[in-house]
Amino acid sequence: MTRASRDSDKSPPEHNLSSSRLKSDGPEMRIIVPLQGVVQGRGGLVLGSLLPCALFYFLQLYLKSRNRPSQSRPSSPPPLSTPNDHISSPSSPSSASGSSIHRTLSRGLLSPRVHPSVSSRAAAIARPDEDSSYYVGLKRCREDAYHRVDNPEGILQLGLAENWLSQDLVLDWLEKKAHGALLGGERPDELNIMGLTTYQPFDGSNSLKIAVAGFMNQVMQGSVSFDPSQIVLTCGATPAMEILSFCIADQGNAFLVPSPYYPGWDRDIKWRTGVELVPVPCRSTDNFSISTAALERTYTQAKKRGLKIRAVLIANPTNPTGHVLSRETLIDLLDFVTEKNIHLISDEVFAGSIHGDQSKFVSVAEILESEGIDKTRVHIIYGLSKDLPLAGFRVGVIHSYNDTVIAASAKLARFSSISAPTQQLLTSMLSDMQFISDYLEVNQQRLRRMHSLFVVALKQLGIECANSNAGFYCWADMSRYIKSYSEKGERQLWEKLLTVAKVNMTPGLSCHCIEPGWFRCCFTTLTEEDIPLVVERIKRVTQGPK
């Protein structure tokens, strides 16, 4: 399978000029500045822009070869100083927060003495993600992506939880039905194109809410029905999670999060809300299941530190460990949050990606209906990026029984609304229940197959995986291959996997796992043919010199 080349739509490689800091009064400027002035005076905008640019470019090359700092020219818009980075990757080390390229006037050597600051929130975000191997790995993989023909020595991507196994099914549907669905007007509830262009309800159209509620019901095999009026739609599960966090916690509050957990939460939840995440460690001896005792302990410790806990945040199915939570666990969690009078957030984005035999997904919604617990503290996050391969379309869901949360989220959704034509298209697709049913069935079969092949392959390498029955990944125990049983040892193994084996896996430390040596390996971006290659690559590390 040819890995999708994203090069055509990737941002262009960083220009040489822009990777360096400018000095406002270096010797180079004294040559170039008057030159530009002269050229612009006579040659007009084109010459005035091109000639200095060209001269500058050559000057840059010369200077670079002499390994000196260099500058750039202001006659065309100043190029960026940081390499463009992917959604999951950090910025380059050359980007420092709060600073920017100095520009000089052609009529003088003035430069601003002071620069406006960015906020502390921005400064924190702009910093390179040196600490998060999750993002670093994704970035390095992007920069040197494996391609069977063009880059066979490239890095194999096992760090991205995307499902490429069943895209053909969705593609087929789109090819047949997208055009009609988009321009619409065939069904009474479909808008024509004018209806799409105008302002829509910010929290999503009613038709799409109904379709999404129906889809969630289908995904969870009819075990629970969702009320569309308790749903707020957003452009992705990422904003859904953030908006919900804004609604249930204030700045400085905290959520308890059983770990290991999805690395993205550290960014998505903490950034702008100012809410802390407090990990509740789970252990391999319990197969990483959540225990009330651990919750209690962590809660008490947090309280002692003066932290106000507002919610417990779980993923079900779990990420990165990949298992469905049992009814008992869910009931225990509900008891815990009820007793503490806090919220429970259940991120159920992988609900439709169950591959275990005999495994059935139980949503927290199902428990609520049967157990008669106060529902107003329970909220579900969902989205179409996992169970359907539609991450680019941006669809996220907040489902809450709390009317105030729904009302506030619906208002906040104005910052994160789904594009109307996308809503129209998806309403059509999700309402095609036969298609969805077929898709879910075939997709599950393919997931199951890939999962078992992959687990077997890893076993042959002596790598055992935790029992998992859901998600796109295996939670692999690579501890026997780390030199020292520590975070440092794990980091070293991760580095080796990236540089020697050229395989990107997500190390447990970026998921806040307290036991070193665990790695999340996604198998859904591979084909069966790729598996032997993955094995060969990993062997470079597991069987190579230590």
């Binding site: 006659s75 910025s91 980007s95 262009t197 009078n341 106060d374 990026s385």
Partner: protein
């Protein structure tokens, strides 16, 4: 299991329960009144006519025609590779082709006077998100942005709600046609200083909403001097730039930055969107253009919370890059808006109502002072209520835009067809006639 008599009252955040969403004003109440009783030529001819929503449908036919002639635009996918790029693609850089298409369109609007670098574009789901994002980036909770009055009522919500940032108004007056003056800027800044509130930026809307005027060059120069001296950011919301009646009358801050050789440009940021000029608010396409690298990087990451659907990007990319289409669209749109504006102003003048001399936008800034019982905010609100209840017209009172002088109203004319506009104007003019007789 939990005891049945346990009384839960699980607390929510201050943001969820506060009223900083700023939606208590008549601006929004008018919308609700419209929603409850919307005008329809056939089914509800006595319903409320919506003139409180700045939406542009005057040039929709051009967009429709484009779609008809380019069927492939709505044919979203061609092949697995393309699908993977499209449907899976969630890179916060956005599609390269789309960013280039946006800059091409923005350059076209500015008559080719400005060059934009598509690498400096950060896509957001609408200008609402773009303004909030920039506020998060340049200011901390408790800081302030200066915003000239009258301003778009949505700013009270968009700039303040989650960010915790304050708005300090820069007061403008009818005596000089509500232009921003150096004195007004200094006064506002001094006020903030006195209250110990750090000012982090100035946010201007150019062309202005609700005034419907483009900011002149001399005023822009003052603004640039002011932000440099005070070392603050400048956000220029230029979402109506394609709705200036004549391109010569619009000066983008980008032009100023370029003319100054990009000196001190790192404090300048532009907000744009396709909601007004192209009349596509439902598509949720906004953009930040910043000359500040740290802001671009941060905005890009923060845009994870507000990405534009890849399908939408793919759909619009060819259209926005099609220079023949965009040239024609921009020109036609400008002409039609200008004619509508002049039509409305003339009809109003005939019955003794004056509007601010405008040259942009989807609305008139109408002076209804003569109709006020008393020249106060209360008097204005009374008039607004009467116009809504009796004339069934939703127009926006100046007080909801923080206008310093009572009696001004923003009247939008671009969301309706000409027949409906005539009905609306007839209601106003007949009311004026009745008043003259009494």
């Amino acid at each position: 299991m939990v005891a049945k008599d346990y009384k839960p009252c699980v607390p929510l955040s201050a943001i969820a329960t506060s009223s900083t969403h700023g939606e208590d004003s008549p601006y929004f109440a008018g919308w609700r009144a419209y929603d409850d009783d919307p005008y329809d030529a056939i089914n509800n001819p006595s319903g409320v006519i919506q003139m409180g929503l700045a939406e542009n449908q005057v040039s929709f036919d051009l967009f429709e025609k484009y779609l008809e002639e380019h069927q492939e635009v709505s044919n979203l996918v061609n092949g697995v590779a393309s699908f993977r790029e499209n449907a899976l693609f969630q890179d916060y850089h956005g599609l390269n082709s789309f960013r280039k298409a946006m800059t091409s369109f923005m350059e076209e609007i500015r008559g080719g006077k400005v060059k934009f670098d598509s690498n400096r574009v950060v896509l957001t789901a609408g200008a609402t998100a773009a303004n909030e994002l920039l506020t998060f980036i340049i200011a901390n909770p408790g800081d302030a942005l200066l915003v000239p009055t009258p301003y778009y009522p949505g700013f009270d919500r968009d700039l303040r709600w989650r960010t915790g940032v304050n708005i300090i108004p820069v007061n403008c007056y009818s005596s000089n046609n509500f232009q921003i003056t150096k004195q007004a800027l200094e006064d506002a800044y001094a006020k903030a200083e006195k209250a110990n509130i750090p000012v982090k930026g100035l946010l201007i809307t150019n062309p202005s909403n609700p005034l419907g005027t483009a900011i002149t060059r001399p005023v822009l120069k003052e603004i640039f001097n002011f932000i440099s001296t005070k070392n603050i950011h400048l956000i220029s919301d230029e979402i109506y730039s394609g709705s200036v009646f004549s391109s010569e009358e619009f000066t983008s801050v980008a032009e100023m930055v370029q003319e100054r050789g990009y000196y001190d440009a790192q404090r300048v940021h532009i907000v744009y969107s396709l909601s007004k000029d192209l009349g596509l608010p439902g598509f949720r396409v906004g953009a930040i253009y910043s000359y500040n690298d740290a802001v671009v990087t941060t905005a890009r990451r923060m845009s994870s919370f507000t990405l534009v659907s890849s399908q939408t990007q793919k759909m619009l990319s060819p259209m926005l890059s099609d220079v023949n289409f965009t040239k024609n669209y921009i020109k036609t749109n400008r002409d039609r808006l200008k004619r509508r504006y002049e039509y409305v102003v003339e009809r109003m003048r005939e019955c003794g109502i004056e509007c601010l001399h405008g040259n942009a936008g989807l609305f008139c800034w109408m002076n209804l002072k003569p109709l006020l019982e008393e020249a106060t905010m209360e008097g204005e609100l009374k008039l607004w209520e009467m116009i809504l209840k009796d004339l069934k017209l939703d127009i926006s009172p100046g007080s909801s835009c923080h206008c310093t002088e009572p009696g001004w109203f923003r009247v939008c004319f671009a969301k309706m067809n000409i027949k409906t506009l005539d009905v609306a104007l007839a209601r106003l003019t007949s009311f004026m006639e009745k008043r003259k007789k009494t």
